[in-house]
Structure formats: C-alpha cells, structure tokens
Symmetry: C2
Subunit: 379 residues, 2 copies
C-alpha cells in the first residue's frame, strides 16, 4: 500500500429538502453572492426559484453568471471571474452539474488570486487562496461536489484538461436527489457511465490498495443495480438517491487511498473527443473504455479478470470487456464512435489530435502506436 | 435512504514514516504539549523515543500523563485535564490505541470548557469548544482516530458509556502500520474483531443504505482475508496496513451514510461485560455478537442472510452465525463467556447489571426478557 493522506474538507448535505439550509449557510461567508448556473434548465425545473428564495431570505446581493455549457469553456470562467471581482463578491453559489461547479472552482481561484484562469489550469500560476464555494448539485455524475478537481476546455489552444488543487474542495455541497428528477434519460445514463469510469480509473491505478479495490467494486455494483432502475423510473427518490451518492463516493478520495495515482488515460481520450466533437463527457467514456480495455487485455489480464469476477462472475478478460460494453449499451450509451455518427473519415483527425496532445494515462502509458490502436478500436 | 451529512474534518496521515511530520504539525497549534499515553508499551517498542524526538525538534514544553488503562477511566481523564489546565497546554498529543485517544478527546473538552469529564460523558454539560488534538495510533481497532466518539468507564456509577460530539474529531491522526508490529497476537485479534463489530453495528442500523451496506461487506471481507494473515506474520507491512486502514474505514462515517442510526446493542452489552470483568473490548464483542444474532435470527432473518450470502455464500441465517463464530474462533477470540473463565455462577449478576443499566440497541430494542436471553446465549 502506498502512503496517503485521507482528508476531505467538504461538508456535504444529502437528502430531501437540504437546500432549506442554503441561505443560512451562505450567510456564514457573506451577502455578496456570485450565482453561477448553466443554460437555463434550472429555471425550467423550479430549482432556480428555490435558490433565489433562499438567497433573498438573507437579503443577499446577487450577481448572476449563467450560460455555462456542458463542456465548460475557460472564456466563460474568465468572464465570471471579472464579474465577481467587479462586484467584490464574498462567496460563489454554483447550481448545476460538473461543468458549472468546475467553472465555479476555477472562478473562485481566479478572483481570489487575481490570476488568469488558463494559467491556473496549466499550473503556470500557483494559487495560494480562494473564495468560498457552495455547490448545489443538479446532476449525479462527476463527483466534483466533494473533490478538488476541475476540467475546462480552451478553444484557442485546442485542449480540454483537468486541474487539481486542495483549495478547490467546495466548502459545502447540497445534494437533493429530487433536484435530479428532471435530468433527461441520456444525461442520467452518461452520469452513471461517468461514475463507473471514475471508479475504474482508480481501479486501474497503481499500488496494492485492496480495500479501495473493494470500494470500487461496491460502487460499480451499486451503479449497475440502480442505474437501469432509475432510467425506467426517473422520479423514484430511492433510485435517484442511490445513484447520486454513488457518484459522489466514486470520486471523493475513497477509491484511491493506498494508491499513488489513478490511471485517467480513458478520461484523457474522452476529453479529446469532447473537444473535437462536443460529445457529452459520459458518452466519450463508454466508447473509450471498451477500446482501452481491449488494448490492455494482454498486458494486465489478471487485473481485468479480477474485476470481471467481482462484477459479473466471469474468469475471462474478454468476457469482462464484452459484459461491461453490454451494460453500457443496456443503458443506451454509445460504445463505438459510429454510434454517435463519427465515421472513418474522422479517424486520421482523431489520431493526429491524440498524438499532438500526447494523450496518456498516469500509470499505463501509451506509445503513439497505442494511440493509433485505441482510435481504431473505437470504430 | 435517510438524509445525512458527510463531513469528516480529521486529516489522516497514513503510511511508513508519517510521524516524521509530527513535530511541524504540533507546532501549528503551539509548543505547550500534553503528551498522553498508556501503561508503557510505547516505551518498550521505541515509539515513545520517536515521538519525543519530534517534540524536542520544535522545542516543545512537554507535560506527560501516562498510565491510561485499556478500559479507560474517567478518574484518569479528570487528572489529565487538571494537569493540562495547570500547564496551560496548547495541544494534546495522544499516543496509543482507543483508550488513550478516547481519554484525550474528553480531556481536551474538559480543559477547554472547564467542565467535569463525567458531566460531559452524561451529556449534562454541553461543550462549545475544545483543545487541538493530534493522535498517533499504535493499535488498529476502534476507529477513534477519525471520528467524534469516545468511551469511558466510571467505577463510582458502575457504567461504561460512549459519548459523541463533532468537536472530538482529532485535528490530525498519524497511522504508521509499523507502529502496530509489536501489538501482541490477542490484541491484534481483538482489534480485527472490533472493526468487524463496528461494521456490523452499522449494517444492523436502520434505513435502506445499500451503498453503505456494500462498504460494510467490503470492510469485513478485507478483515477476514488479512486478519488471519497478519496473525501469522505480525511484522508484515502490507498485512498490518490492510488491517489498520480497514479499522479506520469501519468507523469514520462511511458505513453509516444514509442511515439515521447504527444499532450498537452489541457494544452496549460488551461495555457492560468489560465493566464487570475488565474484559478487553474486542473479546466482549466476539462473545456478544453470536448471542445477539441468535436472539435476532427469527426477527430479521433476511438481513442476517443477506450478510451471510455476501460474506460466506450461504443462504441460511443459522449458518451465517455459525460461520461468523467460526471465524472469530479461528483468530483465537472467545465466543462464549466460559472461554474467558466466566461461568454460570455469574449469570445472575450479569443479567441484573444488563437490566439495571437498561442495556439496549438504538434500532433493535431489548425487553428485559431479551436481556436475560442474550446473557444465557453467551454461556
């Protein structure tokens, strides 16, 4: 087992009606609030009204920044940070899924340190402080509500990349499973895929972390049991709860204690696809994971088989991959690029981009030949 | 799923050599240190010397309080608190297992609030603040290193009881698996039993917390795999690591999210036995759990069978209990009172004490008749 530090400063409030405490929680940090959200779904489903009521109850001075898109852009973050600085905000309230909360994390750093968001993302400027951040989650998927990671993309540099800092844990996160009732079927499925992929990235990391492995298996089993159920019954509180908590647990540290690194090669491939085709993150992962596993199956057969044995009771690496793929299909996720209308004519472009950006895992490193093979396996 | 808050402020440093950072960590809180430890084993195994070197490296002013016994006494805590107050200490460093760290938690509250330790334990005075606490763990068992709970006993009132407060999470805990190499075989086994019992207390709590159930199963499987291995190879770093981390995970919140309460009936029975006969805590649990399960087997057969299915692949509640008992025996833990030389002549005394103290679970409540039956089942 590798040495590790177990520490997670986020206070996470989970359950029906938890945002009734949002106002008083915001007030602990001040009244000047930068309220960040996405492209308006929170206004349609009534969540926006609830949040505004909470902020009005403490007479908050609200600066709004909306329109954050689902593959979030550093340009939006720059704009949000300028707005936040101008209005001397005390605290950010981010209402949305991973893209909104990730954008808010970098916005908070940019405001507090007066630095350019992309310089932060590229580890070129080192933030030393941040602004308080309160997250209200409306999509079970990325786990950003209880970790110190964020992903942004940049059209100028043609990159989608991640950044990690202990400063970025939200101070509070509010998770009401009812807030996810109106998430459409496809995005609910992408969220389930995302949480499974996060668990797998940890599992295919380094080190002998047997308890963390068991937690990975537990989380994936939970997702495989309740994922199909929630898709058929989207306003079932219990099913939404199970998936929402599993998504947090998949990336709040728990699956990684005792390892130095997770792998994250599949996420890197996925980010590259999202950048090129604006594909939803979860959909890129269900395409990339089977391909990645097929590339690795003769390199780490025992590891893949151990997983398959726990999840499916099989002792074959091939069957493990097939059954995982079958599960992704059963929740209507794409497993080949052709499923999302990306065809052979794009192959060279994807390979070039994979090589140019040196897409890679932290543990299982790619050669350029691997990059080419993985792209071929995704068709 | 019940509403819950996931929050654990302890920063836990795990692995070989982590106490090399102890000095600088203590210094964050001040130089006047109350150093608490037990009956001298830390002096024999060299841990004391390492700690003193760390404290000397920051020129700490050390006040020592030692001699805390393995079923810790409130009288010792009172004395430690008086000593700490007299010397205006900034921070407590507790080096030991559950008894030392639990004593230190209540000492910290007593010093900071100027209140009597037993009044705190009985929820008669409400602490509002505490002194910083840094734990150095030398025994994998109770999970106190990453939670807000403490247990003490009082000879005057003839009670051994628990107290829970969010103020009691250690600020930092240092867990070096090498520090547990010299723990004798029987206490290593009691620690394994304790961590299994903690997991079961959560499992037999209320609410439909399926992911927490899966974490319980994961932790118990880990303990059942590596427990016997560490007993046969006590200086194996990997085995000691597995058990040490499993013991923390068994009671740091993880197994309880989504429940209102764990049960804790077996712990209440165990504390009562420890009080009467000074029996080591873990040994009381391996006697009480089979008896408790036999009392409950016709009341909650599905729940017991689900556990048995996950742990042993059986679909029988009876076989689940027999196999759990068999595991406890295999690690040389007692499973009947006669195994620790408590015989029928003590039966009435135990029953009287169970009834007098109204020993009970939080979820599965006992009648006086249940109390009598459980005692009979322990013989």
């Amino acid at each position: 087992m590798e040495n590790f530090t177990a520490y997670n400063p986020t206070k996470l409030h989970f359950g029906k009606g938890v945002t009734d405490q949002l106002g008083e929680t915001v007030l602990e940090y001040g009244k000047r609030v930068l309220l960040m959200y996405g492209k308006g779904s929170v206004q349609k489903n009534g969540i926006y009204t609830k949040i505004i009521q909470q902020l009005n109850s403490i007479n908050a001075e609200i600066t709004e920044f909306s329109g954050i898109k689902s593959n979030p852009l550093v340009d939006d973050v720059l704009e949000a940070a300028q707005l936040g600085k101008l209005n001397h905000i005390d605290v950010i309230v981010a209402v949305g899924g991973g893209s909104v909360i990730d954008s808010a994390k970098i916005t908070a750093l940019s405001i507090a340190n007066g630095t350019d968001p992309w310089a932060i993302m590229k580890y070129k400027s080192k933030p030393t402080t941040t602004k308080p951040l309160i997250a209200v989650l409306t999509l079970a998927a990325t786990g950003t509500e209880m970790n110190g990671a964020a992903v942004l993309q940049n059209h100028k540099t043609k990159e989608k990349i991640g950044y990690v800092s202990p400063l970025m844990y939200p101070n509070h996160s509010f998770l009401d499973p009812e807030f996810t009732y109106s998430v459409p079927k496809n995005y609910t499925a992408y969220g389930i895929a995302d949480l499974i992929a996060h668990s797998l990235e940890a599992y295919f990391g380094d080190g002998d972390a047997s308890l963390s492995d068991r937690f990975v298996e537990a989380i994936i089993k939970e997702a495989m049991e309740y994922g199909p159920l929630v898709l058929n019954d989207p306003e079932n509180y219990e099913y939404r709860s199970k998936i929402m908590w599993a998504a947090t647990a998949a990336l709040n540290g728990l699956t990684s204690y005792g390892r130095k690194y997770g792998d994250w090669g599949v996420h890197d491939i996925g980010h590259n696809l999202s950048f090129l085709f604006d594909t939803p993150h979860g959909a890129t992962l269900t395409i990339a994971y089977p391909a990645w596993l097929r590339l690795q199956k003769n390199r780490i057969p025992e590891r893949i088989t151990k997983l398959g044995n726990q999840l499916f009771g099989t002792n074959s690496a091939d069957e493990t991959i097939t059954l995982l793929e079958k599960f992704f299909k059963s929740i209507l996720c794409p497993v080949r690029l052709s499923d999302i209308n990306i065809h052979n004519d794009k192959k060279d472009e994807i390979i070039d981009q994979m090589i140019k950006n040196q897409i890679d895992g932290m543990v299982h490193k790619f050669t350029d030949d691997d990059r080419k093979k993985i792209v071929e396996l995704m068709f």
